[in-house]
Symmetry: C2
């Protein structure tokens, strides 16, 4: 039944696994079906037992099959069985003055509490990060620094670290040198200082809808107005709407997350990125690109960025290691293109320079060449977790729940029945020590009140399942 | 000749040393005079040899006497021999829009170059800081953190660190708890975020004249106007002028450095601080107090701050450990009084939280109780260095040079002959790899062009003496 021929240069086990994955997708193998034993698989495919085992191990890592003790492997998941996608919501084209969001303060004020099953954050669990290796790099950093890393760092950032960032940019087709990079305290400072660099108070800035609340909250403190551009869960912002908005009002900058937008998790197709860069170049419009999730892809390759297609320097590329390596180290960066001198001056005036020790430590860690290996493991874990979370939601939520199909990142976006108010749901769930992010906080307009965002950064556990069951039951009661 | 009687509770050696210091001041003992041997001193005062030695050691630490090998102790310095004080300059009362300062960029762009004798910065030499102990605290921090300090820190800052900051506030009469403190990335972020908290673009803010350029440079990026208040090298800002300015124009905030203003080094008398706080309270005017140099006093006691007298919460007290412990750790804080909630919200929106590792490490270091001991040693070194630098300037500069009499801090403020342009002097000195800070950069108006600031954070050495000789010779040539 399973016999196949192998061609190409891929690892044998991957070819076997891909064949099996296709059969699961096409429902030749259905959820609950028992798979052939490792011995049988090896015989049928004419491969070694080791290779057969590797193929199953790979599929298990992706969350598609599971091993049951003393019984064998079973199909656990099928992409086709995914629930429907959330619907996009229309946006107004009138700039709105951003208002303070008390909801955000309420939802995120007790983030560090350990009593709460926290599904409201979009961050990997600390146990998925290489703490021990980072500790070693910290010790290496102060031992090999003539000043033990207590002196001021270069304003632009540690030179070795900037070289490593430039090297990483190769992965998305960036042709960058250390001198093009400015190190910041995480991606949030990168975004805030980029906005300060290219706007003046009163200016209007285009953002996605829905979008991460941090983006329009910092705009509020800078006295900026925002205009929301409709964003498709599959392909990202509508370029047509963007150009219309540019023509109608005086947009001074854009802030978009083309790779795995938070909360949608959508991936803007490469052609759209290219067209977007052409559009902003035509209108001489600074594009602040938030690529914080770009390394957390579930597909076969690291997606390009808008910066990849930026020949004239209108893209300010912002990213960090807070979602993939060490949130508390506060290491982010900007590749500000034509705005680099003004950016550096603003950085100098606001914080002089970043933390020397964590910059040196990360430069050493990246120089050791272990980051790619760590990322691969992290991506596998997150991919499997996101599938398991979706399965959990399908198990415990009412059938009319719509779920995003993220192609990377750390969050799921759920559309609930229209009669559900997700902020009330947040309050009720908190009575059971479960925290979610209500959809309303992802827009400056009165939208998404029946949506919610769930982070899947925590490995699946009884605690997580309890959390999802509780939320699902609360939704069902409405 | 030296015989005296001792009373009081002070250490014996201090009483002996104080007696000798008075004799030097009154020129009973003149520069170059040989002092009695340790044995003779012990016999004349009826004290032990150890106590006699301690007295000389103390005076040597203060830079007043020096030991010459195989010869004995000699008088090296006399406060009376100080040159005249720089004169204050009148300020305009018209708010001026701050303009970008290319001079600052030029003077400070190669700060980290090791080929240059850098007298332009106001920072202690790294060799005066306890790097080895800080390294130990870093290792302790990650070993004892359940997340190895790689997770996000509390937005307000590490709780233990805030407790230590509250404890330190006792030294200046602050009645503060951990909940009143917000940790920032150094004092510069503390000032920038305080300004953002209490002003809107277009507002006018009162500053000292002269004042640290970083203060009005960050104001420029925030779209603020400044008004300069005349500042006396002895007593700080003129309260009379301030009240007049408040009545004339709509000042929305003040940013002052009451303890050891940079570049003047002056100490505002306690009564003036009290009166200043009463004034801002009366006019409901936020006072941003920069106390970054407060721990680096040369006098007998830690001076109080404006916050000491603040009963209504109008003072936002800013400080850091960048001038006394670890510049590269970027640890500062704000005690924002009545503005704490808005301050926290702005902090959250701009950088989420600070670096976890350095906050934990400093909390541990401070908790070990070694900071006071380190500060005492650092103050002694800086006191001696400032005297030695003044001596060097007297030796190598023309006699019409006026020099500030700092009561703490890290910098000297020099007034040169009117025909000297200190920015040209900077350029000429740089040909000899010596860097100074021209006075012009300490004002938003066209002032202080014949002034310069010299940092005395580097211990005296042949290299420093060469630098001061070169500058002195260049000044003499004009």
């Amino acid at each position: 039944m399973l016999k196949n021929k192998f061609t190409g240069t891929d690892h044998l086990y991957l070819q076997v696994a891909d064949g099996l994955e296709k059969m699961i997708q096409e429902e030749i193998l259905k959820i609950g079906d028992k798979l052939p034993s490792v011995r049988m698989l090896s015989e049928e495919y004419g491969i070694s037992m080791g290779t057969a085992f590797q193929a199953y191990y790979h599929l298990e890592g992706k969350g598609l099959i599971e091993a049951r003790p003393k019984s064998g492997y079973y199909v656990r998941f099928n992409h086709k069985r995914f629930p429907a996608l959330p619907t996009a919501q229309k946006t107004d084209h009138h700039p709105a003055l951003v208002s303070v969001n008390d909801m955000v303060a309420e939802v995120f004020h007790n983030m560090s509490s350990t009593d709460i099953t926290n599904l409201s954050v979009g961050a990997p669990a600390i146990e998925l990060l290489p703490a021990a290796r980072l500790n070693k790099s910290v010790v290496h950093a102060f031992r090999h620094s003539p000043t033990s890393c207590i002196a001021y760092e270069d304003v632009q950032g540690n030179f070795e670290l900037r070289k490593q960032v430039a090297k990483m940019a190769f992965n998305w087709g960036g042709k960058i040198t250390a001198n093009d990079v400015v190190i910041t305290a995480g991606c949030m400072e990168a975004l805030a200082m980029s906005l300060k660099t290219v706007t003046r108070p009163g200016d209007t800035v285009a953002i996605e809808s829905p979008t991460f609340f941090g983006i329009f909250q910092v705009m509020e403190t800078l006295g900026l107005k925002v205009i929301e551009i409709p964003t498709d869960a599959g392909t990202g912002i509508s370029l047509e709407h963007l150009e219309k908005a540019i023509k109608k009002s005086t947009i001074k900058a854009c802030v978009f997350v083309p790779n795995f937008n938070n909360p949608l998790g959508c991936l803007m197709p490469d052609d759209n990125k290219k067209a977007l860069v052409e559009l902003v170049t035509k209108y001489r419009l600074p594009l602040i690109e938030d690529d914080i999730y770009g390394d957390l892809y579930f597909g076969p390759h690291r997606p390009p960025t808008c910066k990849t297609y930026d020949t004239e320097g209108w893209v300010l590329h912002c990213a960090s290691l807070s979602k993939s390596l060490a949130p508390g180290y506060r290491i982010g960066w900007v590749i500000p293109g034509r705005f680099i001198d003004e950016f550096k001056s603003i950085k100098m005036r606001h914080t002089i320079s970043g933390t020397t020790l964590t910059q040196c430590a990360i430069a050493h860690y990246l120089g050791m060449g272990r980051f790619e290996y760590h990322l691969k493991k992290l991506r596998t874990a997150l991919h499997a977790q996101h599938l398991r979370y979706i399965q959990g939601i399908v198990d415990h939520f009412p059938p009319d729940t719509r779920i995003s199909r993220p192609q990377g990142g750390l969050v799921l976006w759920l559309e609930l029945n229209k009669k559900v108010n997700a902020f009330q749901l947040y309050h009720e769930a908190m009575k059971y020590q479960v925290s979610i992010a209500p959809g309303r906080i992802f827009s400056v307009s009165d939208r998404y009140s029946n949506y919610l965002r769930l982070g899947f950064g925590k490995p699946w556990s009884d605690e997580v399942e309890r959390g999802i069951r509780i939320i699902g039951n609360l939704v069902k009661k409405r």
